[in-house]
């Protein structure tokens, strides 16, 4: 590390949650140098979780989800401009408008964008939406308020399911198309996927699983959709909820280990280069980062979680202005939440990193429960449905690699104490991208492929 770490030029590319929290942490921990934030959107940083909930319900306008700035940043904000490239030798970020921004240390926090519908002509039709930005949410909320006859949601991951829930709460007819066997199954596995399917149907969603949308129909304006099972529906709105794409294209020529799965970094958020050598001046945090986690056998994790963006940004910022042994690892147990169809769902750990699951508390019938996930005999995740109060206990079990199934004796254990397979499908089966990706080997694929001798 050259020079005084609390001085110099730090550039943060990405002006959303992770970028903002990193910038705040830099100042809070005494960074006195110049600080530049570069963001593609023209808005100052805003919060995304309300976009698929309160905003779609019309309870909060899309432009009112701004993130509070918790301290004076004294930063140079470059908003509305994209970073187009990175010169790691000359230490410059190249902007699409032709300018370049020199840095001593760089934080990559460019996050993700919505995965678009694969057919550009169909995607361009009036009535076809994605939901990632505040602008997306404003446009979609306005159209929902206008009272469409039917909304088609393509993909039943968390975003798709929350959109469907908001539509039903507004009294709109909704069809949800999911290529996998159930909603949320990619994140939570078979048992809770089945519960989600029941609840969606009980709330009047026309849920179609195991099908794909083969075509969006219309002539400039969406009128309907065709499904792989030969059926079709009329719909005037389609929301494409197929997961996210990581914003790493701008790093293609940079020599960093950046690709569709994110920017690979070490546990201290330092980016790797394409040879697997750790850099000392380039860091990554938030949705775009891909980092090894010891609780999950050091597999590389990409997490699209609010809490991860905050925690990882804080660690990255701390490490950017700390040297050697003062640097900290990012070891936070992953956690996220969702609200939909009257359910409050909270998750700790990585449910997809599992082979078995047991309902440790509550019952599926009451839709109030805690499901605990295990992998090869240790607890790796827990998901609560309308029963979050003991989640901290399970987080402790995850952190300490406690044996799975967890010790019996919960006051309200009513389901069978016998674990069942967690039924996490291969991500290839899902129509949407996972919000948690194990981007190393999957837990059930611990294989070495040996090339036959020729």
């Amino acid at each position: 590390m050259l020079g005084e770490p609390r001085d110099g030029r730090i550039v943060v590319v990405g002006a959303s949650l992770a970028g903002l929290r990193a910038a705040e942490t830099l100042r809070a921990e005494g960074f006195t140098g110049s600080l530049t934030l570069i963001g593609e959107e023209t808005h100052p940083p805003y919060d995304r979780p309300p976009l698929s909930k309160q905003v779609l319900l019309g309870k909060v306008p899309a432009d009112r989800t701004g993130l509070p700035q918790r301290r004076r940043l004294d930063a140079d904000w470059k908003l509305g401009v994209r970073a187009g490239g990175l010169d790691p030798v000359g230490k410059r970020v190249l902007l699409d408008d032709g300018a370049d921004v020199p840095f001593d240390r760089l934080l990559i926090a460019t996050g993700t964008r919505a995965r678009p519908w694969p057919h550009p002509d169909e995607a361009a039709m009036d009535g076809v939406f994605t939901l990632r930005t505040s602008g997306d949410a404003a446009a979609l909320a306005a159209r929902l308020a206008a009272g469409p006859r039917r909304v088609l949601v393509v993909g039943a991951g968390f975003t798709g399911s929350e959109i469907a829930s908001a539509c039903r709460e507004r009294g709109l007819d909704v069809t949800v198309a999911e290529r996998g066997p159930a909603p949320l199954v990619g994140a939570l596995g078979g048992t809770l996927g089945e519960l989600a399917a029941k609840l969606q149907r009980a709330h009047g969603v026309d849920l179609r699983c195991g099908v794909t949308v083969t075509a969006l129909e219309g002539d400039g304006r969406l009128t309907g959709a065709q499904f792989s099972d030969g059926t079709r529906i009329d719909a005037d709105i389609a929301v494409i909820a197929l997961g996210a794409v990581r914003n790493t294209e701008w790093l293609a020529e940079s020599g960093l280990a950046a690709g569709p799965r994110g920017v690979t970094c070490d546990a201290g958020c330092r980016a790797f280069d394409m040879y697997g050598i750790v850099t000392d001046d380039i860091f990554a945090a938030g949705d775009v980062a891909r980092f090894p986690h010891p609780l999950f056998e050091y597999q590389l994790l990409s997490l699209e979680h609010w809490g991860n963006a905050v925690a990882q940004a804080e660690v990255a910022a701390h490490n950017m202005i700390s040297t050697g042994p003062r640097r900290r690892p990012h070891l936070t147990v992953p956690a996220f939440w969702s609200s939909q169809f009257g359910l409050n769902i909270k998750s700790v750990g990585v449910p997809t990193f599992s082979d078995q699951v047991v309902i440790a508390q509550g019952s599926l019938k009451d839709a109030r429960l805690v499901a605990v996930y295990g992998y090869r005999g240790r607890v790796t995740a827990a998901v609560s449905v309308n029963q979050a109060r003991s989640l901290e206990y399970y987080r402790h079990l995850i952190e300490t690699a406690a044996p799975f199934p967890p010790a019996p004796g919960a006051a309200d254990q009513r389901e069978s104490p016998v674990p069942v397979p967690s039924d996490v499908p291969d991500p290839k089966l899902l129509s949407h991208g996972p919000t948690v990706a194990l981007t190393g080997h999957l837990p059930d694929r611990r294989l070495t492929v040996v090339q036959p001798a020729r």
């Binding site: 109060r389 901290e392 010790a407 309200d412």
Partner: protein
């Protein structure tokens, strides 16, 4: 064998004014087994973990050692504070319907003006008095009036339920020795009488909604159903007792602490916007509920390297956890502006205090108005005379003198 007698010493009235050195001793011990087979836990992280541990029951009927308080309560079922999920969740949810979000989000906030008026009336009553007893003249009548209004109980009946309430509180005092069975029998009997009284009040409102909680219990049904008459009785007793036996101590302990810390008192007069933080600090520093004496493990559990056998009485010493130096910087210092203050004053986990928003509001208003209206208050007796209970700890009287109103 100091550990074996620790609980005796903690509950010994001689230590009521300052139990904190004993709590420090408890934290040193980790988990302290008592000679009657009960276990005390006093470190912050252990208590916090146990409060979230689903294998810890709040239902005394799961105790395997004899427990006079269990099973003697014919007639009135346990209230939700003494039950586990899913029953606890159902009953607490039904009670919450008319108290807080999502169905009644504004109930407590809407009482702001009412509480301020009650507080000012009480302060007006100080007129001409040279000496005030903070307890009798203020900290007791305030929460009683508020909880009566909230539930819809006539304040005139206060002398009746004060007797019952005293007996009920004495009944769950876990002080060993001096005939606990007799106390518990009297407590159970008082609970039954209070339940009958409140049940009758509630039934009288069936079909005639009057906007209070008793009325809501018998008139408002949600999709989750409604409290049965017996459940209404048990819930009403819980709310009436918890609604005043704790807040009186919070306010009194608060005033006492401020008088012992003139710098803090003066700062709060200058910066009244600090009051919400100061009340949190009081909840940490002098919590009205010192311990949760009714937890029971449903399985053998390991805490701090010791196994607590299934069915043992487990006593969580919240007040000891609140002063744990492993958790709080300089824990014995009263800092009204303390930011990192996730105290155990309201417990945590599924049984986390139902009435916390009300207790906070009452205490914030009460202390704010007292500071505004009491000119140069001074302690006349320190330490003051304490109430008997080691569980709900607070002064029996707190005499202060003053310059003028």
């Amino acid at each position: 064998m100091a550990a074996d007698t620790l609980f005796h010493r903690i509950t010994d009235y001689a230590h009521r004014a300052d139990p904190y050195p004993l709590y420090a001793e408890l934290r040193e011990n980790g988990v302290a087994r008592q000679d009657d087979g009960s276990y005390l836990v006093g470190t912050y992280h252990d208590i916090a973990a146990l409060l979230h541990d689903p294998r810890i029951s709040s239902d005394r009927r799961h105790r395997t050692v004899p427990d006079g308080a269990a099973g003697t309560d014919e007639g009135v079922p346990p209230s939700f504070i003494g039950l586990d999920d899913p029953e606890h969740h159902r009953l607490r949810g039904l009670a919450m319907r008319s108290f807080g979000p999502p169905h009644t989000p504004d109930r407590i906030d809407g009482m702001h003006e009412d509480i301020t008026r009650i507080v000012r009336d009480l302060i007006a009553g100080f007129e001409g008095k040279e000496r005030i007893d903070v307890v009798d003249d203020f900290a007791y009548p305030l929460p009683v009036t508020v909880i009566c209004r909230l539930l819809g109980v006539p304040t005139e009946d206060e002398p009746r339920f004060r007797l019952w309430s005293d007996a009920i509180v004495a009944g769950f005092d876990p002080t060993p020795g001096d005939d606990p069975e007799e106390r518990q029998r009297a407590g159970t009997d008082a609970r039954k009488q209070m339940a009958l009284y409140l049940g009758e009040l509630a039934e009288g409102r069936r079909g005639h909604p009057s906007g209070d909680m008793l009325s809501a219990f018998v008139n408002d049904a949600g999709p989750e159903g409604q409290l049965t008459p017996l459940e209404t009785m048990a819930t009403a007793v819980l709310l009436l007792i918890a609604g005043h036996e704790t807040t009186v101590n919070l306010i009194t302990n608060g005033m006492l602490t401020l008088l012992r810390h003139p710098d803090a008192l003066e700062r709060l007069c200058r910066e009244p916007e600090l009051m919400p933080l100061a009340v949190e600090e009081l909840l940490r520093y002098e919590p009205p509920v010192q311990m949760l004496p009714q937890r029971t493990p449903l399985a053998d559990i390991e805490v701090a390297g010791r196994t607590i056998p299934k069915g043992s009485p487990l006593i969580l010493m919240l007040a000891a956890g609140n002063r744990d130096p492993q958790r709080f910087v300089d824990p014995d210092r009263f800092d009204p502006a303390r930011e990192d203050n996730q105290h155990l004053g309201f417990g945590s986990g599924v049984h986390s205090c139902f009435g916390a928003p009300l207790a906070r509001l009452e205490t914030q208003i009460a202390l704010h108005e007292l500071l505004r209206h009491l000119d140069t208050p001074r302690l006349i007796e320190d330490p003051p005379e304490y109430r008997r209970s080691p569980v709900l700890r607070g002064p029996r009287h707190l005499l202060i003198g003053r310059g003028g109103v």
